[in-house]
């Protein structure tokens, strides 16, 4: 059962160019990696809609929700102005999260802000005994988000930057492709720009590795009612139908998506 809540801002700090790390005190009923919360980003009707934000982490003992977001418009600009002690109106956790495979070796592939849900997945997978390799890509070194926190996780971190300022020089998917030549994975999980996800889907498909991707789409209700946030998916019989990102996703098996 999903819920509506008021969460108190504990911290809301810049961690990259226009990127903020928000900590909120709120009791959530067992959020899972890949799920999201739907936040009001304003105190009036303008901006009107909630903003869906992936759960970056959740600590049940402290009842603390962590979110990572980029200021891209008026809603997130408002959010960046919230201070400790302010309260935010939230809905969730919503949607379907990632499903870890039976095998122990998993690759997580994050492009830019795609690290937001994959950090949570990496932590949970590592705690569950998985051998986790986390591929993080960005345009430049300062876009590799929360690196110091990542290094605190029991996961192998592989970095890639387009300009070569840190780690592998080139797209994170090229780094993944090289590693797939000799490394074995039982599952791949990705979040990032759509072109990157399509490339991950292709690489995983070629090697027969099950892959899941987390999608983003313009969203209204978040509850599966309005059918505003759909993505085209292949059905069992090869037919194509629109499914809600909010309720059927945001995480989907990569091979079901019509890229």
């Amino acid at each position: 059962m999903s819920s509506l809540w008021q969460g108190e801002v504990v911290a809301n700090t810049a961690v990259g160019p226009d990127i903020y790390h928000l900590r909120l005190r709120t009791a959530l009923p067992g959020p899972r990696p890949g799920q999201f919360v739907h936040l009001r980003c304003g105190s009036s009707w303008d901006p009107l809609l909630r903003r869906p934000l992936s759960i970056h982490d959740y600590n049940p003992a402290r009842q603390e929700l962590e979110l990572l977001y980029q200021v891209v418009g008026r809603g997130t600009a408002w959010l960046a102005g919230r201070r400790p002690g302010d309260f935010l109106d939230g809905l969730g956790p919503l949607g379907r999260g990632f499903t870890l495979p039976p095998g122990p070796r998993v690759a997580l592939v994050a492009g830019g802000l795609g690290i937001a849900p994959l950090f949570f997945l990496a932590r949970v997978a590592a705690a569950g005994g998985y051998q986790v390799t986390l591929y993080v890509g960005a345009r430049s070194r300062d876009g590799l988000l929360r690196l110091e926190t990542l290094q605190g996780l029991a996961v192998e971190v592989q970095r890639a930057t387009d300009d070569g300022s840190a780690g592998f020089a080139g797209p994170v998917t090229s780094l993944l492709a090289r590693h797939l030549e000799y490394k074995q994975y039982d599952g791949i999980f990705a979040c990032g720009p759509r072109a990157m996800l399509a490339e991950v889907a292709k690489l995983a498909g070629q090697r027969g590795i099950p892959a899941e991707v987390s999608l983003e789409e313009r969203m209204a209700c978040g509850l599966g009612a309005c059918r505003g946030c759909v993505v085209a998916l292949y059905g069992e019989d090869g037919s194509i139908a629109y499914e809600n990102v909010c309720s059927a996703g945001p995480v989907f098996p990569a091979e079901k998506i019509v890229w």
Binding site: L4, L48, A220, G224, A225, R227, V230, Y242
Partner: protein
Amino acid sequence: MVKPRMEVELAGLRLQNPVMPASGTFGFGEEYEGYLDLNSLGAIVTKSVTLEPTPGNPPPRVAETPAGLLNSIGLQNPGLEVFLREKMPFLRQLRPPVIVNIAGRTLEEYVELARRLDGVDGVAALEVNISCPNVKEGGLAFGSSPEQAARLIRAVRRVTTLPIIAKLSPNVTDVVAVAKGVEAAGADAVSLINTLQGMAVDLERRRPVLGNISGGLSGPAVKPVALYCVWRVAREVMIPVIGMGGIMTATDALEFLLAGARAVAVGTANLVNPRAMAEIIAGLEAYLLQHNIEDVNQIIGALEV
């Protein structure tokens, strides 16, 4: 002071209060079950049901505008058969009357939908969508002229004994003429307004934001337009009016009732706050109590001009 009377009578239906969802913003009810007591609503209005399954429009389907929302869903729904088999069992065990919204591509499809819904257990009324701006065939094509609208309602009237609510568009030269047309054709009520046609542009990509290019505008941005349409129509027809368009709060709902709406529908607000209707119903009651108004009917159409 005793609790104020909240019941209203509408097209032969007795509603425990005048608040219902606007079609398309509330799915088939079940999506909102965890957020508010569905049995506390005045009525339930379903998403549009079409004869065959409708895939809907390519994404993006929603775009936020200043205090507004553009959508181009395109009536995505599983079709009548699946609706009857999978959605009606849940809906019919609810206490409020269930109003099924129907949409067709042709007059014949509307007639077939009405014929097959007539006598279905748990269906209390039909809302005939002649105002959807997001489909190429049907929808607004029927709602934009008084003659076409009347012809359609007359045809539907012949095949059903259920109350008929005609849902009207503001994208017309004279909404009063359309309302009078459907009244003469046998509609038991009118509901208005459906969304206003609009578009949004993505400057970076030099493309429309919506996959369908245009969409329908709703939310607080359209409220003044909706209020004026409701006020004009309510003065000119004898049948009751369900008012909607940007109702977010009890204050908004009260304004529509004053302007002559017998009941109100809440749409975009449900997408922002899933408890919106519960809060609006509580707010209406609180207002009546505070102002010593014993019966909500006393404020309906009570606008002084």
